[in-house]
């Protein structure tokens, strides 16, 4: 048999790795949207959440590194797999049509590499703005993340980019969540159809949820006369 080192390098092992990392990223998004939704309750609640997460959590650097590793593995393995798959069919079909039911092929599943690469670019911009952007102190402790978010989403073009990117997230998850379940080898006559459906529902909830947050932040900017630093 293949050595243990080769376990993740075969076509099935690659799929497992992409499935596990993808599913972890999906779980992270659930936590992320939960935290972000606290912005509706005002700066005190939102900043306190950020304070507890960032200052009261000694494991944060470790979690951040793990998240970065998961993300990089997911991106690296998928891009490499995509390139390898291109060489598996060097001569294209003159005519190729979707085969129809019971195929799960959708626009979302056909554009995973495009939506994935878009999200890579989005995340660089997103993390730069929120993790490495200008910080303001919050009197009760930690940083004024509320103000940071308000400022980051004060530009209509940026809000538009965020909303567009959330459509892309939704598309990626629309195929991704169900696909991860299949990649992990989970299959059951009764539960698989339900999981497939649940994956699509979660994709829509996450995408629309983040869109609402971005739009709400833009529409609830503090007074126009306020001086920005």
């Amino acid at each position: 048999m293949a050595s243990r080192g080769g376990f993740l390098s075969t076509s099935v092992g690659t799929k497992l790795l992409i499935g596990v990392t993808g599913f972890l990223l999906f779980l992270y998004l659930l936590i992320h949207i939960g935290g972000n939704a606290l912005i509706f309750f005002g700066p005190a609640v939102f900043n306190n959440y950020a304070y507890v997460m960032e200052q009261k959590n000694p494991l944060l650097p470790l979690i951040e590194l793990a998240l970065l590793a998961v993300f990089l593995i997911h991106a690296f393995k998928t891009v490499r797999m995509f390139l390898a798959n291109q060489s598996a069919r060097p001569v294209p079909y003159a005519m190729k049509k979707p085969a129809g039911t019971p195929s799960r092929k959708t626009l979302a599943s056909s554009t995973m590499i495009v939506s994935g690469l878009w999200l890579l670019v989005f995340l660089i911009i997103h993390v730069k703005a929120f993790r490495f952007g200008p910080e303001y102190d919050w009197p009760a402790g930690g940083r004024d993340l509320y103000r940071q978010e308000m400022e980051n989403l004060s530009n209509p073009l940026m809000v538009l980019f965020y909303i567009l990117s959330m459509t892309v997230v939704g598309s990626h998850l629309f195929h991704g969540i169900a696909s991860a379940v299949q990649s992990l080898g989970l299959d059951h006559p009764k539960w698989t159809p339900r999981l497939l459906f649940a994956g699509k529902v979660f994709a829509v909830i996450i995408a629309v949820g983040f869109m609402i947050i971005a739009a709400w932040v833009y529409l609830n900017q503090p007074g126009a006369g306020r001086v920005r630093v």
Binding site: L16, A88, R89, Y93, P98, R104, S109, M112, Q182, G185
Partner: protein, 248 residues
């Protein structure tokens, strides 16, 4: 009825191929798709042209030899049907029909519509078998197997190895084929002695042959003439993990 055909012609493995237009006139709706091609070929032969090369054998949907991508779908528009069981009544007078061979690096074109599918044979040789000691024939029911398990194994064993799954997959992946072969043995006690070796060897062979990996789109299960579902692929993944953890 009369049809316009666009057929892939390629003189040999190294030659450049192209789509060539042919007219198929006076086609009876009762003809099978391959019989229609036979008639076109007769016409070509009478004119002194080279007949279109295509694979066929049993012509009753059980051997897995026919391998035509018809209007962009392997085995054509009918569900659970091989190209040989597709009938011309499925088409309308004046239809344009594009016919191409399976497209995959691991299935090189031999000539026209014929591809070399020996990569599948090598995957089977790598592990798709059970070793049986010679001796007296064992009693058929000596090993009790629940009916539902036997049925599931039989559903997987229905794979005729035609390669439509590879042809339909955007990655030209052989996962559905492999997983059907692995499942039919993994489900039955007779397949258990070699199960760990089997799954790792077959996957390694398929990767080496140049097949792609699986994106869980399920185009394969939609074109499979035996309607083999991708739940087999999930089972193959479980077998692969078990093999990595438990193989001695």
């Amino acid at each position: 009825m009369n049809l316009k055909l666009r057929i892939w012609r390629q003189a040999g493995p190294a030659a450049a191929g192209r789509l060539v237009e042919y007219a198929a006139d006076h086609v009876s709706p009762d003809m099978s798709f391959l019989e229609m091609l036979d008639v076109v070929n007769e016409g070509l032969t009478k004119k002194g042209e080279e007949a279109i090369a295509f694979d066929s054998d049993c012509r009753e949907g059980i051997c897995g030899t026919c391998s035509l991508v018809i209007n962009g779908v392997p085995h054509g528009p009918d569900r659970g049907t091989t190209a040989c069981q597709l009938h011309m009544r499925r088409f309308k007078d004046g239809d344009s029909v594009t016919i191409e061979p399976w497209r995959a690096a691991a299935f090189p074109v031999v000539k026209d519509l014929i591809v070399d599918r020996s990569a599948f044979d090598r995957i089977i040789a790598a592990g798709g078998y059970v070793s049986v000691n010679c001796g007296g024939a064992p009693d058929g029911n000596a090993i009790p197997i629940p009916k539902d398990v036997a049925d599931l194994a039989m559903d997987s064993a229905a794979c005729i190895g035609c390669g439509a799954c590879v042809a339909a997959c955007k990655n030209a992946s052989a996962h559905l084929f492999m997983s059907a072969k692995i499942s039919q043995f993994a489900l039955l006690p007779q397949g258990h002695p070699e199960r760990h070796r089997r799954v790792t060897a077959m996957i390694a062979q398929a990767d080496g042959e140049g097949f792609g990996s699986c994106s869980n789109e399920g185009e394969c299960q939609a074109v499979c003439p035996k309607e083999i579902p991708i739940s087999n692929i999930a089972r193959m993944t479980r077998e692969y993990v078990k093999a990595a953890l438990l193989a001695k």
